[in-house]
Amino acid sequence: MVSLKTKLGDWELDNPIIPASGTFGFGYEFAELYDINMLGTFSFKGTTKEARFGNDTPRIAECTAGMINSVGLQNPGVEAVMEKELPKLAKVFNKKVIANISGFSEEEYVYCAEKIGKSDMVGIVEVNISCPNVHNGGMSFGTSAESAEKITAAVKKVTDKTVYVKLSPNVTNIVEIAKGCEAGGADGLSLINTMMGMRINLKTKKPVIANKMGGFSGPAIFPVAVRMVYQVYEAVKLPIIGMGGVSSAEDVIEMMLAGASAVQVGAENLVNPYACKDIIEALPGAMEKYGINNLYDIIGGAH
């Protein structure tokens, strides 16, 4: 029998499948569809210091093999997440969760990390320095190695939790950013966030989404994600959560061969609410097809 188990540092996961932040809410609504305890874990909706409504609508644009979103970090704020959302989640989920946080200043990252780090339910704090949808926002921290290092170090200082930094693909050299995070003390890396994209409505002749540009995700970006995971795996010693267009068990295997210890599934949850369940159930068959007994053994196998 094949083994789906993998590890993120010391954290052993039953399988590598993790719904990505922003595509799974705070989990409990998906629990109405299937037992979400079958997941490796999941990463909850990006949380900020203050509550945010996010950007104007339309926030969504269709693309070939993908979509653009410009939600803009809509969330109830870190206090409400801890007081209202996590208790609801606790009723249906018995594993630790990944807390995805964003900010508009170092102080906000630190505030969020310190707060959320106090929750027993949190296994990893995932620091999003790569949200493309907020002006003067998280993205700017993710485009230079220096600022990435600085935010990482500041967050590490205020929490005992494992800290992963979520990287943007919209950079000239993702390896430098990854090294900055490593230097700042990151325990791991999540990559890639969405790519900056735009669609124009031919009828109105203006950008489809109100904020003009947004984060492009879906199967279309998978080859870029595989490339970046491969590059970062060669350059840093940290465990990697790979993501970007993963939509099948085969994609999970490819991402792990490139160097991912676990894999987040994002946009696919939005077109198939059972995507993660389906992928977990398809993995054993795919592994047998390609002669893989133990998923953990293939991490970085393509190098």
């Binding site: 922003g22 996010g54 609508t57 926030r59 979509m67 979103n69 939600v71 489809v208 949850n269 077109v271």
Partner: protein, 256 residues
């Protein structure tokens, strides 16, 4: 919500660029008229949300759905070319739908363009519940009109307006409603409004009447089931997701 396959029974043009598709599958999760389905279309990434016009329930939770859609883009274009026997993956019973219980005796049902189809299901339910229904259906022109007869067959007093005056009352739905209001008495004894249509129509209606009501909104959606926050809106009762907490909002909570 259920993710399940439907088979197309028929798919025909019923007005200019407007098609009526009937499909068989599991309808067990539907709870109210005004809910919608989200349809996976080969070659397109996002599913396409289409409001449900009618459900004919059969045994064991199975039934026939009627969807009416207008060809406005690639998705509906592909749908219009689909033939009998084609299997489609649907997410069913999405959104809250209309609460017909809020109407006590007499309902004003208003539909504009592709906002007309869900009002058919609402009208049917209201009449089943023994309520009086006046349906005001607005279209651009005579070639766009559909389902007038179907509303009449349900037993609704049915008024059609066209913007260009080529059929029925010339003007917008609010013009027809104004006539009723002027007439007064039984012509205007409504205790609840049910409406679906383009936002300018909804806003005009909101301002034209004092009657309480439920308004169904459209927004560009990502998932259709509340996961992506793509279709959020602000209401007096807090932020809502059009796809999950809506598409129907009560008049009291709407912020324009």
């Amino acid at each position: 919500m259920e993710k399940t396959n439907f088979v197309i029974n028929s798919n025909k043009k019923i007005a200019s660029d407007v098609y009526e598709m009937k499909l068989s599958g599991s309808v067990k999760d539907f709870t109210a008229p005004g809910q919608f389905v989200n349809i996976a279309i080969e070659g397109l990434y996002l599913r396409r949300p289409i409001s449900v016009c009618n459900i004919e329930a059969k045994e064991n939770g199975q039934g026939e759905l009627t969807l009416i859609y207008k060809v406005v883009g690639k998705g509906t274009e592909k749908m219009s070319a689909m033939t009998e026997g084609t299997v489609l993956s649907l997410l069913t019973a999405l959104g809250n739908g209309f609460d017909t219980k809020r109407c006590e005796k007499s309902a004003l049902v208003v539909g504009g363009g592709v906002g007309v189809p869900p009002m058919y299901g609402v009208t049917k339910k209201l009449i089943e519940e023994g309520k009086k229904v006046t349906a005001v259906l607005g279209f651009n022109g005579a070639g766009d009109v559909f389902y007038e007869e179907e509303f009449k067959k349900l037993g609704a007093k049915t008024v059609v307006t066209t913007a260009d005056g080529s059929y029925g009352i010339k003007g917008f739905v609010t013009d027809a409603i104004k006539i009723m209001e002027t007439e007064g008495g039984e012509a205007y004894d409504f205790d609840e409004t049910f409406a679906c249509g383009p936002e300018p129509m909804l806003k005009a209606l909101y301002n034209a009447t004092d009657i309480t009501g439920q308004y169904s909104f459209e927004e560009r959606m990502g998932c259709g089931f509340g996961a992506c926050m793509g279709c959020s809106c602000k209401t007096k009762y807090g932020n809502k997701r059009i796809c999950k907490d809506g598409p129907v909002l009560v008049k009291e909570e709407i912020i324009w």
